[in-house]
């Protein structure tokens, strides 16, 4: 039997490492394509300023990339160390995209990053541009495979549970890859990275304009970031809507948590703009609603409706009762894999196996589960509503703020007036933490909303963890927090130093080449 404290500590440890890691990843995803855009202009126009831009932002990209890799490595090991039952149960499916991600990240992406950094003097312009594009493609494709693996946890497709091997097995790679959740989540996350990079470049460029330094680089970078950012923000919002639409079909409990929907309501449903969900009372306090809006947002129709937790909990009770015979049949099959009657009973109830596991937490012998234990297990099927509800609202609010910022940024920069708007330049600097916060909120919505499952409707979180001791988990968690905080501090120090130093003055190529890894040639690299 699992110690729930160990399960919670395992969850906390994974959450902490992911939240740290996810501070670095989106910037890598987006900045790589912005570098490709800058270098494309350099190759097309031949103007040295764009190479200077690509090299300067490339230096910041490398600081972020290195720390992103360092923080990401431990996460994949945690599946084995802290989530061993999960790894055994779904490893056949989950392992494939993770292995491809490893190949993408460590072979394709890292190889081309090396060529991008050290290849300025060794490759032709066209070759170097191709390398930069491949870095961008490689980093985003490695994110694709992680998100395909994650989407299997959110909405499992392309696999079935084999009662003989007691594991899930992959039966359709196509369904795994083209899962609707994977598609919308990959594009949403990737483009959120573009927004992050655009705010990053715009904010630092605004800082230079405020200080009246590196104006040629800053104004061009700001222009490119503003256009890149406004389109990307529109894309993020569109894909956020698509992701919600997919979740309404596949994860109704997550969507109900995002909307604080305790009771099923008839269409057209109002949207809870502000509410304070009370998990114990299963109700909201201090509600401010916008009529009709929820039906439109979730179903794209004013006549659409979705179930609240009252309906979902009733359904969960029915599924738990149907899942109990599946668990019993599985126990019989574990003793005798040739038991035909047990196999037939399992196949009749296999869809509800995961719900049978839910009640096993309270009744190890599921056949003796009481109605009270079944109701308790059904109550567990509700994710932590207040955290999901407010993370979602904060993410959306920050997304809309970034859209407004970029619309203004495009207006000012296209009129070539952005330097005159000092208040706006100051705002751009203050916007720097906003996309990072929005990204973290998005991750919380996705993963807290998946609870109480590691694999939705299939495997509960409580039985997925390894059987470590509490002391071990506390010790390793403290170690991760200290180490990763150190990484953040290192990133901030290196970034601030590189930003203060800025790009080299025109004609200072030799000194810069000696001081930075992005240009290896001794002199003349700024001259064209």
């Amino acid at each position: 039997m699992h110690d729930i404290t160990v399960v919670d500590l395992s969850r906390l440890q994974f959450a902490v490492t992911v939240l740290y890691h996810f501070l670095f990843v989106p910037l890598t995803l987006g900045l790589s394509f912005l570098l490709a855009a800058m270098e494309t202009v350099y190759v097309v126009t031949g103007k040295a300023i764009y190479r200077e831009m690509a090299q300067f932002w490339g230096k910041l990209f490398m600081i972020n990339f290195a720390l992103g890799v360092a923080t990401g490595l431990t996460m994949e090991f945690q599946f084995g160390t802290n989530w061993s039952f999960y790894s055994s149960f779904v490893g056949d499916i989950f392992g494939a995209p993770l292995a491809i991600e490893g190949l993408m990240a460590f072979f394709m992406e890292s190889t081309f990053v090396g060529l991008m950094v050290f290849g300025w003097q060794r490759l032709s312009r066209g070759q170097h541009l191709a390398v930069t594009w491949l870095v961008a493609l490689g980093s985003n494709l490695s994110a694709l495979w992680i998100l395909i693996a994650n989407s299997f946890m959110q909405d499992p497709h392309g696999a079935f549970f084999n009662p003989t091997t007691m594991r899930m097995e992959l039966d359709s790679f196509t369904q795994l890859v083209f899962n609707a959740d994977a598609q919308s989540k990959f594009v949403h996350t990737s483009i959120a990275g573009y927004v992050t990079a655009a705010i990053f470049v715009a904010g630092i460029s605004a800082y230079y304009m405020l200080k009246r330094r590196h104006l040629d680089l800053a104004r061009r970078s700001f222009r490119m970031a503003a256009l890149f950012g406004v389109l990307a923000t529109m894309g993020v919002i569109t894909l956020g809507d698509a992701l919600g639409f997919v979740a309404a079909q596949a994860q109704p409990a997550k969507l109900a948590a995002m909307e604080g929907l305790w009771q099923t309501e008839a269409a057209p449903m109002p949207f809870n703009l502000i509410a304070f969900p009370d998990q114990h009372a299963q109700d909201n306090r201090g509600v401010l609603q916008v009529p009709y809006l929820l039906s439109l947002l979730v179903t794209h129709s004013i006549h659409g409706s979705m179930p609240g937790f009252d309906t979902l909990q009733t359904e969960a009770i029915g599924r738990i009762e149907a899942g109990i015979p599946a668990v019993q049949a599985l126990q019989a099959l574990s003793k005798d894999r040739h038991d035909a009657a047990a196999l037939a009973r399992f196949n009749a109830h296999r869809e509800d196996l995961g719900y049978g596991f839910l009640v096993q937490r309270y009744a190890p012998d599921v056949g003796k589960a009481t109605p009270r234990q079944i109701r308790q297990a059904a109550r567990d099927s509700i994710p932590p509503v207040a955290a999901v509800f407010w993370s979602f609202r904060l993410m959306v609010a920050l997304g809309l703020a970034m859209l407004a910022f970029f619309v203004l940024a495009v207006l000012y920069t296209l009129r070539n007036r952005v330097q005159e708007r000092r208040w706006f330049l100051k705002l751009a600097v203050w916007m720097l933490p906003v996309p990072f916060l929005a990204n973290e909120m998005g991750w919380l919505v996705a993963e807290l909303g998946r609870q109480p499952w590691t694999v939705y409707h299939v495997l509960p979180t409580w039985m997925s963890a390894s059987t470590h001791g509490v002391a071990y988990m506390v010790f390793s968690l403290a170690g991760f927090v200290l180490l990763y905080t150190l990484f953040i501090v290192i990133e901030m120090v290196l970034m601030v130093r590189a930003i203060r130093e800025g790009p080299p003055a025109p004609g200072a190529g030799a000194a810069y080449a000696a001081a930075t890894p992005v240009a290896a040639a001794p002199s003349g690299y700024l001259e064209d």
Partner: protein, 74 residues
């Protein structure tokens, strides 16, 4: 011959894009949208930079004299 080579290259690119659109469009509209959208976002950002260069060159050249009635541009 060079023009014909470019013609073949762009024709090949067009065929690849159409096949990708057909396959990915059926299997997953959002993957295809990402491919097209990312290229578009990058190109718009690049065009913005080129426009800034043009604005600066125009600005440094000073205001252009208005075309007279006989200049053929009016």
């Amino acid at each position: 011959m060079k023009t014909f080579g470019y013609f073949l290259l762009f024709l090949l690119l067009a065929v690849i894009v159409i096949i990708l659109a057909a396959v990915l469009g059926d299997l997953g509209a959002w993957y295809f949208a990402w491919l097209v959208g990312t290229v578009m976002i990058v190109l718009v950002a690049a065009a913005g930079a080129a426009l800034l260069d043009a604005q600066e060159e125009q600005g440094s050249a000073g205001p252009r004299p208005r075309a007279g009635p006989g200049s053929g541009q009016g």
